[in-house]
Amino acid sequence: MKAARFDYERPADLAGALAALGQGGAKPLSGGQSLGPMLNLRLARPPLLVDVGRLAPLRQVEEGAEGTLFGAGITHAEFEDGAVPDPTPGFLARIARGIAYRAVRNRGTMGGSLAHADPAADWPTTLAALGARVHLAGPSGTRELPVEDFILGAFETALQDGEIVTGIFVPRCSAGARFGYRKSCRKVGEFAEAMCAVLADPARGVHRLVIGATEARQIVIADAAAATSDPATLDDALRAAGLAADPASLRLRQAVIRQAVAALEDESLSA
């Protein structure tokens, strides 16, 4: 199908973008890799798209001792190729490589992926596991939220009207940090049916585990030392989230969690 009519603006700076987004029904556009399909299928019919993906602050990367602030408009391919610095021992590139297909990764952005908040997408789960923070700018100023407070449910975020994601701050990991990640997809590049990310960074005392592809809000275990030594303890969390109803899908989720945890110990298992 073809998109319904919309108007398009590409403001030169952030202030201009926020002003344009103040108009009723306006939607930000970054890589268009999720919005484009929805426009074409007419599942989304915004009257106005405001192109924000190439605004200077969204294309910047700021390195600090504590971590790296990535502009929201950095693409999956830029992470994949190591075109931007990585405050983790290579985790971001590894995850980026598994998102969609190269032709999609060349345009899709980290900020767009978070704002879209597809529960089965790779960045929301990965970034929650890394303890990342989302930087937002809106008509009433700027603010920051941890990823797990930003994502409220399937396709639901804490974004207020006229507010955009400007950047994502990823804390620096110690050199010995390990990351286990598994997702189960029917086909390469398809959205996942089960997903789990685990970060073990003992030097910083950080053990985090996130279960994604939940069809709802992700499950974030901020102190996951116990869960990583015995993944079966997560069954209660799965049950509480209503993910235990279908035995086949529960087994798949359990297997994906076990494999993600196992991948912590044995890097050769890493996807």
């Binding site: 073809k2 268009g32 890799q33 484009g36 190269r102 032709a103 999609v104």
Partner: protein, 393 residues
């Protein structure tokens, strides 16, 4: 219309574009560059892959209005490209195509793969090629062709293109025709009001559902069964409890004509439809059959809802059990992915239960709870299609 300057296959083009026109349509229809093919038009099949500033991208979900200043290369623009020439020979030798529909996109991707990852093995080629679908060849010949060219390039420095950093290949092709007079899109017909396509005229006859999705939900309402039952017999009141739904015509208690708007993230749908209601007072249960159409996306939904009321809390409260079965057809179904419904279903049910409680106590429904459509799409089923909104193509 917006003015843009764009370079296609080495030719500078100035044009006025409709923002909603995607790049593939712009090139095929305005420039008569029909080498770029369109399959799914939502990013999944790869047939429309072109190079934007040298990097492969889907032209069906890129819009020229947002590509001012970009350099585009289509399959026509690769006529004189040495790597593409090697790939063409290899595709011919290995039978890398049958009908040829996927081939332009395959060539674009294949060229990027062998440049970016010289010498990669078959497993890696299949992985890289996963976003280009071919319904004819079974991929064996395509993979073999790419493998042979990748092997030739073993040891060469990778050429990685992501965007404008690396100069894109530019070849003025004899096939790149000058711009044809821009065809101004005819004025879009005014959007039909939601529900306009509802099959309201003909009396609705419930049909058996084929391979439905089934959802069961239970919740408690703090009121005796008789008063909950009474409410359930009044379609207008039930509908008023479902967020976003309203009756579009007064109900005779037997049938309903309703509409329901759903908004989740950027997705919006407005279903209009009709339903018939049947009650079984002896068993405190009933059935609602319905069907509806989202006039924007032309998605159709057909559904059956059973409800049953049981007493709990020594008669002070009522447990409401709803079983919903529904079938979706059309774009939303195409986007659908399993059970994302659950989250929405839970939120909808919570809102419905809260509104039902409020309604029974005689309070106005909370502000958010716009009217609901009991008829064609009660509750869980609503969730159902909602749910389906969110799949992926």
């Amino acid at each position: 219309m917006k003015p843009i300057h764009i370079e296609i296959n080495g030719r500078a083009i100035s044009a006025e574009v409709e923002p909603r026109q995607h790049l593939a349509d712009f090139m095929r229809e305005e420039l008569l560059l029909t080498g770029t093919h369109l399959g799914c038009e939502h990013g999944v099949c790869g047939a429309c892959t072109v190079l934007i500033d040298g990097a492969p991208a889907r032209s069906c979900i890129a819009y020229p209005v947002a590509l001012d200043g970009a350099k585009i290369t289509t399959i026509e623009g690769l006529a004189d490209d040495p790597v593409a020439a090697r790939l063409r020979e290899a595709f011919t030798r290995e039978h890398g195509l049958q009908c040829g529909f996927c081939t332009p996109g395959m060539m674009m991707m294949a060229r990027d793969i062998v440049l970016r990852r010289p010498g990669l093995d078959e497993g890696a080629i299949r992985h890289e090629l996963a976003g280009n679908l071919c319904r004819c060849t079974g991929y064996v010949g395509i993979v073999r062709a790419i493998k042979s060219v990748a092997a030739e390039r073993m040891g060469e420095a990778p050429v990685v293109t992501r965007g404008s950093e690396v100069a894109p290949p530019v070849y003025a092709s004899p096939l790149a025709l000058p711009v044809a007079p821009s065809r101004v899109a005819a004025e879009a017909a005014p959007a039909a009001p939601a529900g306009a396509q509802a099959p309201g005229a003909a009396p609705f006859v419930a049909e058996p559902l084929r391979n439905p999705v089934e959802i069961v939900e239970e919740f408690d309402v703090a009121a005796p069964r008789a008063s909950v039952w009474e409410l359930f017999q009044d379609p207008a009141r039930v509908i008023a409890c479902l967020p976003g739904a309203r009756l579009t015509e007064p109900s005779d208690g037997r049938s309903v004509v309703a509409e329901m708007t759903v908004k989740l993230g950027p997705i919006q749908a407005a279903f209009g439809g009709t339903g018939v209601i049947a009650a079984d007072p002896a068993n405190w249960s009933g059935t609602i059959d319905g069907r509806g159409v989202d006039s924007r996306s032309a998605t159709r939904v057909q559904a059956r809802l059973n409800y049953a009321l049981t007493e709990t809390g020594a008669g002070a409260a009522t447990r409401v059990r709803v079983e919903v079965a529904y079938v979706l057809q059309g774009p939303l179904a195409q986007m659908s992915r399993g059970a994302i419904a659950r989250d929405l279903a839970a939120r909808m049910t919570a809102a419905f239960a809260a509104n039902l409680n409020a309604a029974i106590k005689g309070e106005a429904a909370p502000a958010e709870a716009a009217p609901l459509d009991a008829g064609s799409l009660l509750l869980a089923m609503v969730k159902g299609w909602l749910a389906r909104l969110f799949g992926r193509g």
